[in-house]
Subunit: 293 residues, 2 copies
């Protein structure tokens, strides 16, 4: 049996002491595999693995630190958010573990509401596919207005957002790829057009979400991508489409970055496209055959 | 700790009963991951993993079946060979396991000589890098002539090749990639030229061995490759070079096949070239991070 994965996103990408404190809280209770912090997004993405109770304990401890140290009222960053611990997905690495992941995420949601007294909004695998963007439009103020107007309510915890820490979006989802393509210059309009060209919402790749963002600290613009279904939309094809769209606008791609870790299958699919081996998949990769069945 | 791998090559790619009998002997004693049989090569490559004693027991049992069932005097095939069990590498999946692999291969060599009474030739990690081609030139008859002339001698076992089963080349090596690129048509001269263009011996990629072969049963020619150092010579670059060389000769690449399994790093390096993520390596692949440290 494989461990479960969790990929909590915290709204702090600049203050090293806070990022480290969250990391220590997590690493003391589960296996922390990766931390990706971005100053412009002002956001850090942690990747951890563990069994059910390790995942719940580590996430609860990390969210408690974020609740204590992150004040959304003073937060600014390119990435939309409604919480200090903004979105906390529990991820079944294999589809067979979906039910374990759901039970784990629900237990986490209950304890965040009861013990940390933060409102919890269920999403994705715990809410019929409803995405984080549903909650984030307009930020915490708009979310509180919708709650007050009776348009929606937290699923667990208190009925009001915490003034400082906001709320927490908790759910389960399949492994996804968070991926940024960096574009030279400051042409935010071009980045947004490219995002629209490739994302599902506007007729692009299935399961791809994309935003054009301005990264003023880094001094360039970016197409920030979530590839939710890398089998339907191979990452390398999405990246190639971004490159084509950029070239068509006279914009240079300067590089790309992975946020968190890459599902092995996505790497194998990319390799297959270069190697011309029909049917090459994760079953043909030596090290992947050494994992528990 | 990871298991050891072994990739024995047997000189039978046509008779299903013999291939299955070898597979059963192996699978009863270690974990058999892959069997790749080729009728034109008249050769089967087995991939297995296990601990030291599982590897020795499984290989010894497989070689015993081959000794019984394969008669080199009646063998014909595109791939050079000097034994029924022609070459038997034990592979440390991680460099740290090189000493475990050497001890295991030496124990196997000793038992093949003593118990199966076949001459054993040490190679690669057990013989200062000497490759299998050193023994195979001219086939079993030429090898016996060199032994009789005192040019070389088996390292273990009897001093004469077995009339039916030949000898066994045993050693250790790093994970390599055995890979065939298939070319339309029957232009064997072109396949040989392309092999020369990409292989180390003739000024091509470091650590790449290549042969142009005629596959009369399949009805085409082939560039058969061993990429011994996929870090120095990325597989996707070698394949691209084969494609370029083929195009320059007006020959179509119809596809490619992997023999055995692919080291994960080679897939990640290929993916990196398409994704433009600097430094992307196996440490960024989720499932690979779940293996024992």
């Amino acid at each position: 049996m494989l461990p479960l994965e969790a990929v909590p996103n915290f709204s702090e990408g600049r203050d090293r002491a806070t990022i480290d404190a969250i990391g220590e809280a997590i690493a003391g209770r589960a296996r922390l595999l990766d931390v990706h912090s971005d100053e412009d997004h002002n956001r850090s993405v942690f990747t951890l693995v563990g069994d059910e109770s390790e995942i719940v304990d580590a996430l609860l401890a990390g969210i408690a630190v974020a609740r204590e140290r992150i004040d959304l009222r003073r937060h600014e960053g390119a990435h939309p958010r409604i919480g200090a611990a903004d979105v906390v997905p529990v991820v079944p690495i294999r589809p067979d573990d979906a039910e374990r992941a759901r039970a784990t995420a629900l237990e986490l949601a209950r304890r965040v509401g009861e013990e940390l007294e933060l409102p919890v909004f269920l999403y994705a695998g715990l809410a019929a596919g409803r995405g984080p963007a549903f909650f984030r439009q307009g930020g915490p103020a708009e979310l509180q207005r919708r709650i007050d107007a009776g348009e929606l309510a937290p699923d667990l915890g208190p009925p009001r957002l915490d003034e400082s820490a906001g709320g927490v979006i908790v759910g389960t989802r399949a492994p996804l790829i968070a991926f940024n393509v960096n574009l030279a210059g400051d042409n935010l309009a071009a980045a947004r057009e490219i995002a629209r060209a490739v994302r599902e919402r506007d007729g692009g790749f299935p399961g791809v979400r994309a935003l054009g963002l301005e990264l003023s600290r880094a001094g360039h613009v970016q197409v920030s991508l979530n590839v939710e279904d890398w089998q339907a939309s191979p990452l390398h094809e999405v990246v190639a489409a971004v490159e084509r769209e950029a070239a068509a606008r006279g914009v240079d791609v300067t590089g790309a970055e992975l946020v968190g870790l890459l599902p092995a299958g996505a790497a194998v699919v990319a390799a297959r496209s270069l190697l011309h081996v029909d049917g090459l998949d994760a079953g043909h990769v030596l090290e992947l055959r050494l994992l528990p069945e």
